[in-house]
Amino acid sequence: MENTNAKPKREVVVPGDLLDDKELRPGSGTYVQDGKLYSSLLGVKSIRSNYVNVIPLSGRYLPQTADTVVGKIIDIGPSNWLVDINAPYPAPLHVNEVPWRVEFGDTARFLNVGDVIMAKILMMDETNKIQVTMNESGMRKLQGGHVIQVSYSKVPRVIGKGGSMIQMIKNMTDCRVFVGQNGMIWIEGELDNILVASKAIEMIDEEAQASNLTDRVKEYLERNAPAEGQ
């Protein structure tokens, strides 16, 4: 990043900051009062096709329909499970939403407390009632490997532009990595490689604001990852 002019400093705004008083339209993380547009979040101001958005720098995951998430079973009922997806509310998973035929009261035989699953947000209604489903291709109970948690707002950094960051981590550590939209990440591979991959992802989580992040993660991986082609 020799040319600092090429990438303008992004503006950090706090709740109550004036974003626009002219013609822009309110996007996410904003509110309007007396015809003026203000930030409702601590975040980064971003203008896209006449909309002002504030991209959060912290905060809990807010489910969006069709997001793929990694979650943990925290409770079991006779016809459903309760999944912690790091959102303000636990998400119910109904027996009709799993790829198995589950008799009433037989739920624990399929998924138990502490099990980790990959699931899709089926819906999130206006009262924030969430439902998740495993009736989609690829959704399943996860086994083996390691699960780590990064803050939800760092997920885009972990993925990188066009998936570049996560692809680099996968390639250089020879691990399978699945990043849930909710910030829970599943990593599978050789034990030593899992440690390197988790450390790299933790680095992104902690230093997301730092410049040259890609280079730093790359350097870390080069120093610690197994030689390529092994």
Binding site: K9, R10, V12, V14, G16, Y38, S46, P156, I159
Partner: protein, 245 residues
């Protein structure tokens, strides 16, 4: 006042060298506790305050849930060694009252309707007290809320204006408070100057009150700048690489 204790000398200086409308030195740091969703540490004069936010999260006990919005539950607590005579640990009537008015002040800015049935839990711990702890706690709590990514209309700066030696003095310290004749803690939404916390005890004329309000509101704007600065410092952004949004 027939006491021979002088709170303001003939040059207008207070016991700690401040002018009447000076705040005590203040320091705010955001994001100091790893477990909480958001947190802040604040010092003003000899006050040392920690604030932490958990949530929005499932509301316990369930009967407190509101189907239309999140509830804001603040717990203000004075640690036992924070005062000169040890305070017995645990809640008391004073902290229950302060917790309630701080909850209400914070609720006025949080977009609670975005999180029906949820709870937003705010914990304020006074580690060292030297007058003005409720204001310090509220100021820290609103920074912690923003740090937690809470959607809110604005931050809530808070300060007290007191009266000692017959003069209006901003942000009384313990010594001044002990001999004070009145105390007026307040908090505002800076963008509109709406007052969201107000208490008063002691004795003030209407003219003194009007003047105290003016001083307090102006000081809140000063504190507001420090709150914003603490949040920006925590998340100062370098030259960003582009990311998927």
């Amino acid at each position: 006042m027939d006491s021979d204790i002088v709170m303001v000398d003939d040059k207008g200086k207070r016991v700690d060298g401040r002018e009447a409308n000076d705040l005590r030195p203040m320091k705010i740091e955001a994001g100091v506790l790893p477990n909480a969703d958001g947190s802040a540490y604040l010092e003003i004069g000899k006050n040392k305050v920690l604030a932490a936010v958990y949530g929005p999260r499932e509301c316990h006990p369930r009967h407190l849930q509101d189907p239309t919005k999140a509830i804001v539950q603040c717990k203000y607590n004075m640690q036992s060694y924070s005062v000169s005579d040890r305070k017995r640990p645990g809640p008391d009537r004073r902290s229950a009252e302060i917790s309630k008015i701080i909850s209400e002040a914070l609720e006025s800015v949080i977009l609670t309707e975005l999180f029906p049935r949820a709870s937003i839990d705010v914990y304020i711990e006074i580690m060292q007290a030297n007058a003005g702890t409720r204001c310090a706690g509220l100021t820290a709590a609103s920074v912690a809320l923003a740090d937690a990514g809470m959607p809110m209309r604005d931050l809530v700066p808070s300060v007290a204006v007191g009266k000692a030696d017959g003069k209006l003095l901003l942000d009384l310290n313990k010594e001044e408070d002990n001999f004070g004749e009145a105390d007026l803690p307040l908090a505002i939404i800076p963008k509109t100057d709406e007052v969201v916390l107000l208490q008063m005890d002691g004795h003030m004329t209407k003219e003194e009150f009007d003047s105290a309000m003016k001083t307090g509101v102006a000081a809140c704007h000063e504190i507001y700048e420090m709150q914003k600065d603490a949040l920006r410092r925590r998340y100062s952004v370098g030259e960003e690489e582009e990311v998927e949004e």
